[in-house]
Subunit: 338 residues, 2 copies
DNA sequence: ATGAAAGCGCTAACAC
DNA sequence: GTGTTAGCGCTTTCAT
């Protein structure tokens, strides 16, 4: 643990002024080639590295942005975080990641912390569609903010995946497979996608006609809840042959619950999930899922954050999801006898 | 996006000196109760919040520590990160999380970034047991460093789980279940636990006698590799009735691979994993696993980092793992005929 | 092209 | 207990 050399040490060593050293390192002012050489030599000799903190204080910019996720333990967010990090890095920013642990208090705390550290911008996936609003709006009066995947206010930018298309992809696919009796297993809403997916489901079912829109179960974004929901479906709705789940964990639980109670997936009941996380491929049967366009989301979110558009009205970018067909939805009653 | 008020604004508003304001906010100097009141009032009125950057520059401390993980997408690390964050928060630090994406280059980059941001300490789980050494040792000459879960050098502190006990727990348990023909499915070593677990396996098998210590397969920490390994086991070693896997993903793959090739888990072959991640409970059969003591690891790691002991010799803290018995290991050949 | 010096917002001697 | 002031390490006018 050594003392670090400062810009002044380098200046002295090179027999130049601190201004010259600064110019060489920030590189935004002309500098004599000889001076540059001497500075670099001195810097190398002293193992000099500019102090970001001091630079930031002077520049009023840290070239860093904060990312606040509701729960890094939840499978979708690591993927999102990685995508965003890559994109930010490409834009010359570094990312500070904070986990809200699904607690609006901690989330606000994280936001304050990030702002206090003078991040140049904030990316947030608010853990609660209402309570988080305060934190988001508090943040946006001090720094540019973009909401990603989830949102808590319409006053800040939003980059989200299109819930209507998500549900439509799943539902239409299931219809193609010959399904007719739909049910939906969601999560009671503290997260905006939960609510949006449910609404989209209801809307789509209305278009189909039939009773699908009334068969809705809401719990948590967990496999346990899915397992439990499978029970409810079994006992309540005998005619259900297609279950649309609001995320992959729920779908996993539903598949297992159904299977454990003797129903065969997908032959008797087809199941789909959302988010296309890792679980879809490790499950048996593998699970059909609607993938969120994580990379594009990262792209747009970072773009909105770092590209200062004169126009400051909040934008909503709704990105198209993609269906990934796997075993859990290969219903095909026509082929069933084969 | 407003301009922020500074300590001087508050001082002026309160009709006091900047020193008094500073004292009120840092709270480590006596201050008159009346002065305190006036300062707080003025601060509230101006919505003043101290600037961490400036404070840090002055204090030469950011009360933040960096955490570098090899891959946040890998199921064990979110759990570790959460545990560490909690512990750090309790100690008054905030955590900056960086993902190395299993790339030593990016990892070094992350370390540089963190140091440049003047973290007060670094927690790292090095992605490569050899190549990462440079980054770790570079870091430790500027800031306290603790290696967690993985390590790349013996010159810095290490907080790891005890590989010998990990394997012993799994192996002894399998013996109790009546297993006798062991095989090990690991990952070829760029991560220290991979190597340590393999060694521990070999050592334990030698103690048992028999041929277990020769039946070793090494690939990656993935379910795909586990699936593949199941094939190899099937074709090469007919007498194997117990497979110890170096992590849960491998175990998951092995279970599926074995099952798909007609072997019944656990009746014909028992399987165990390591890390006790989420997969163990969503798999069918559920998977017996050896849990790492994540919370204790976090505790010790943070302790080593923030408790400055005069003695600076590198410590190695080896924490005891715990066996979690689930379905995949209920072999009991004695009951098989039942 | 280069240097001198005034900040960036805060803390910590040091005086009173 | 309170105020004055010199830094922390950097950038950036403004002269030269």
């Amino acid at each position: 643990v050594r003392a670090r050399s400062t810009i002044r040490d380098v200046a002295r060593e090179a027999g130049l002024s601190v201004a010259s050293v600064s110019r060489v390192f920030s590189g935004n002012r002309p500098v004599g080639t000889d001076v540059a050489r001497r500075v670099r030599a001195a810097a190398a000799k002293l193992d000099y590295r500019p102090d970001y903190l001091a630079r930031s204080l002077s520049l009023r910019s840290t070239t860093s942005v904060g990312l606040v996720v509701p729960d890094i333990g939840s499978p979708f967010f690591p993927a999102l975080a990685q995508a965003i990090e890559g994109r930010l890095r490409g834009a010359g920013f570094s990312m500070l990641l904070m986990d809200a642990q699904n607690d609006p208090e901690l989330e606000f705390e994280a936001v304050r912390e990030l702002i206090a550290r003078k991040v140049d911008g904030l990316l947030i996936s608010p853990c609660h569609e209402r309570i988080s609003r305060g934190a988001v709006e508090w943040a946006m009066e001090r720094v540019p903010v973009v909401q990603v995947d989830r949102y808590a206010t319409s006053r800040a930018h939003r980059v989200i995946s299109d819930a209507t298309r998500t549900i439509r992809l799943a539902a239409d696919h299931l219809v193609e497979q010959g399904c007719g009796g739909f049910a939906f297993v969601g999560a009671s809403g503290t997260a905006s996608p939960a609510r949006d997916r449910k609404r989209a489901y209801v809307a789509r079912m209305r278009q189909y006609g039939g009773a699908g829109h009334t068969r809705i179960l809401e719990g948590a974004f967990t496999a346990d809840w899915g397992y439990e929901a499978a029970d409810l479906i079994q006992t309540r709705w005998a005619t259900v042959d297609a279950v649309i789940c609001a995320n992959d964990l729920i779908a996993l639980g539903v598949v297992q619950g159904l299977t454990d109670r003797g129903r065969i997936v997908p032959e008797q009941v087809a199941v789909t999930g959302c988010d296309d996380t890792f679980f879809t491929t490790v499950s048996r049967p593998t699970i059909t899922s609607v993938a969120q366009p994580v990379v594009q989301m990262a792209e747009h979110a970072v773009g909105l954050l770092v590209t200062p558009t004169g126009d400051s009205r909040p934008r909503t970018v709704r990105l198209p999801p993609a269906l990934r067909v796997r075993e859990s939805s290969r219903h095909n009653p026509g082929h069933r006898s084969a």
